[in-house]
């Protein structure tokens, strides 16, 4: 299951200042055996459980998310995979009655530590949602710049540079450069989603979480986003939740399979390199799922 890295030649060399942790790009990405270095761990989830009120949705799921890899989370509806990645940037806690237990470590610091500022967590761990959600009252430029402004970056030339670099990284620059003042929601669905990706990466997070980013898009737009993910993985660590098994197989380096038990609690069944999980699953439930026998 070879994953082809479609490195798009664009201004990825643009200066992106001081993001710690994100290690230099591992050599040999796209070549055979590129995953054999178990590179650094970007995020370490330790026995994470999540609740919606009394409903126990995720049960003690531990995962190491590797730096500059694409990690896919697959599983049938209701297995808790979306809830789980929403714990990674503390978005879960915005749901009324929601609760999280366990620890998620970024650079050895538990993001749920009371001393940690959740807004700072979300600046370092960005998110792209299922439905494209550009801000309707903002232009394309303002959308991409919004995160920078939230972060306190107001220097005009710096903002302009970062907006351009982010739009290029999101493979959207060429399509919108003549019309940057246009409202973000005037774009097509696929363009809107790439705008949201540009917005998320403009603040230079270490990790980008993607919650079914293609499920609202047509196949051509989906291919573009998938190509984009591969090129973005050179600079960012990506975690993607997807319903689409082929997508997980195409783009990801590592795949986790989650499943809700009879008790309704979602647990991690198997977590392995994507090639292994799809060709030689260890757990019979994984095999049943990827061969389409349930879910």
């Amino acid at each position: 299951m070879a994953i082809e890295s479609t490195k798009q030649e664009q201004a990825t060399t643009t200066e992106f200042s001081g993001v710690p942790v994100a290690a230099p790009t591992p050599a040999g990405r796209g070549s055979v055996g590129r995953n054999d270095d178990l590179s650094q761990v970007a995020l370490k989830a330790d026995r994470v459980s999540a609740w919606y009120g009394a409903k126990h949705a995720v049960g003690e799921v531990s995962m190491d998310i590797y730096t500059n890899k694409i990690t896919a989370l697959i599983g049938p509806s209701g297995c808790g995979k979306s809830t789980y990645i929403r714990c990674f940037n503390r978005m879960h806690e915005f749901t009324p009655g929601a609760r999280v237990e366990g620890g998620i470590y970024l650079e050895g610091v538990d993001i749920y530590d009371p001393a940690v500022d959740p807004t700072r967590v979300r600046q370092r761990i960005g998110m792209v949602f299922q439905k494209p959600n550009p801000f309707p009252t903002m232009s394309i430029v303002e959308n991409v710049a919004s995160g920078l402004r939230f972060k306190g970056i107001t220097n005009r030339s710096e903002v302009a540079d970062r907006v351009e670099a982010s739009l290029k990284s999101a493979a959207l620059w060429d399509e919108v450069k003549s019309d940057l003042k246009k409202p973000g929601i005037a774009l097509s669905g696929g363009q809107q989603q790439r705008l949201c990706i540009a917005r998320a990466i403009a603040v230079e997070p270490e990790v980008v979480l993607m919650d079914e980013p293609c499920s609202a898009l047509d196949p051509i737009a989906t291919v573009k986003i998938e190509d984009l993910m591969t090129s973005l993985a050179e600079r960012f660590t990506i975690v993607i939740v997807t319903h689409n098994l082929q997508q997980a197989a195409r783009v990801s380096d590592w795949t986790g399979f989650m499943l809700a038990g009879d008790d309704g609690i979602g647990r991690l069944v198997e977590y392995a390199k994507t090639d292994e999980l799809f060709t030689n699953p260890k757990d019979p439930r994984t095999e049943a799922y990827i061969t389409g026998r349930f879910g």
Binding site: T119, F129, F135, P136, P183
Partner: protein
């Protein structure tokens, strides 16, 4: 058999005729109800134009009232007074009301919020004359005089619950996805509200402001013992000030035909003013939204 059902004698014919008859009757009832509902509006507008237009003159806008019984003169004092008091009342009341609406929508999903919402509804239900009495004892008695600011305060309190409730409802309509987008970018909740949620709700909030403005523009009761009224044009908010509804009231129950005609003319001015402001605010907020959308 099927072919006879369609082409020949229809066993369901009587049933169908009955159904079509009921349909026609019901439609007729609905149309009649709709027409009856619109009749008062049409009549009001008709009488306003018929009785009001003859009273319109340049003098009406440029001069103060003359002594009772003398014809001529105008109601410049009332027009200027209404503009000042309604304007100030809106400027003071709306920001507070929007803040209340933000509180109810964003921080009020708990018992304190429910309590607060109930109080706002009670405030909306308080008769405007009671509001006038309240401000009378709060400002007029201690100051020992009738003042325009007392009228402004009464109008500001009147507009607040209307705008607060509309703001809350409009903020609740902003899609959850937008909140999440801002929060996921590392925006603190207060910045999410101010830069993303509130701008998205502006056209709806503007509608609430229009409703409130229309309401307080026509209020005479809360001004009766606060601003009191004034025979002369005054722009001093620390003295008594006139207002269109006050003068309409005085002139309409007065004994002179000239006054009656002026009362109609003032009513026409008031309605036109409210209509123009409504159209203006809606146009500006829609245009603002259209530019950004």
């Amino acid at each position: 058999m099927a072919s006879t059902t369609w082409a020949g004698a229809d066993p369901l014919a009587s049933h169908r005729a009955r159904r079509q008859l009921i349909d026609k009757i019901m439609t007729a009832i609905m149309i009649t109800a709709a027409i009856i509902g619109v009749i008062p509006l049409v009549l009001i507008l008709f009488y306003l134009l018929k009785e009001g237009i003859p009273g319109l003159s340049l003098d009406l806008f440029t001069s103060d009232p003359r002594r009772p019984g003398l014809s001529g003169g105008g109601v410049r004092n009332s027009i200027i007074g209404s503009t000042i008091m309604v304007g100030l009342g809106t400027v003071i009341g709306v920001p507070i009301a929007v803040a209340c609406g933000i509180f109810m929508s964003e921080y009020g999903q708990n018992r304190a919020g429910t309590m607060f919402r109930f109080l706002v509804d009670v405030l909306a239900g308080i008769p405007s004359i009671t509001m006038g009495l309240f401000v009378y004892s709060l400002l007029v008695l201690p100051m020992q005089r009738f003042t325009a600011i007392a009228g402004v305060l009464a109008l500001a309190i009147l507009i607040m619950p209307i705008v607060a409730r509309t703001t809350e409802e409009m903020l609740q309509l902003v899609p959850r996805a937008l909140r999440e987008a801002a929060l996921a970018l590392g925006a603190p909740p207060w910045r999410t509200i101010l830069t993303v949620i509130l701008p998205a709700a502006v056209p709806g909030i503007a509608t609430g402001v229009v409703l409130g403005l229309a309401r307080i523009s026509g209020e005479a009761a809360p001004l009766l013992f606060t601003a009191l009224g004034n025979q002369f044009t005054s722009t001093d908010v620390l003295h008594a000030m006139d207002a269109l509804p006050l003068r309409i009231f005085v002139y309409a129950i007065g004994p002179y035909d000239d006054w009656h005609q002026k009362a109609w003319a003032m009513s026409l001015i008031l309605v036109t003013f409210i209509f123009a402001i409504s159209a203006g605010i809606r146009w500006v907020s829609r245009r603002g939204a259209a530019i950004r959308h």
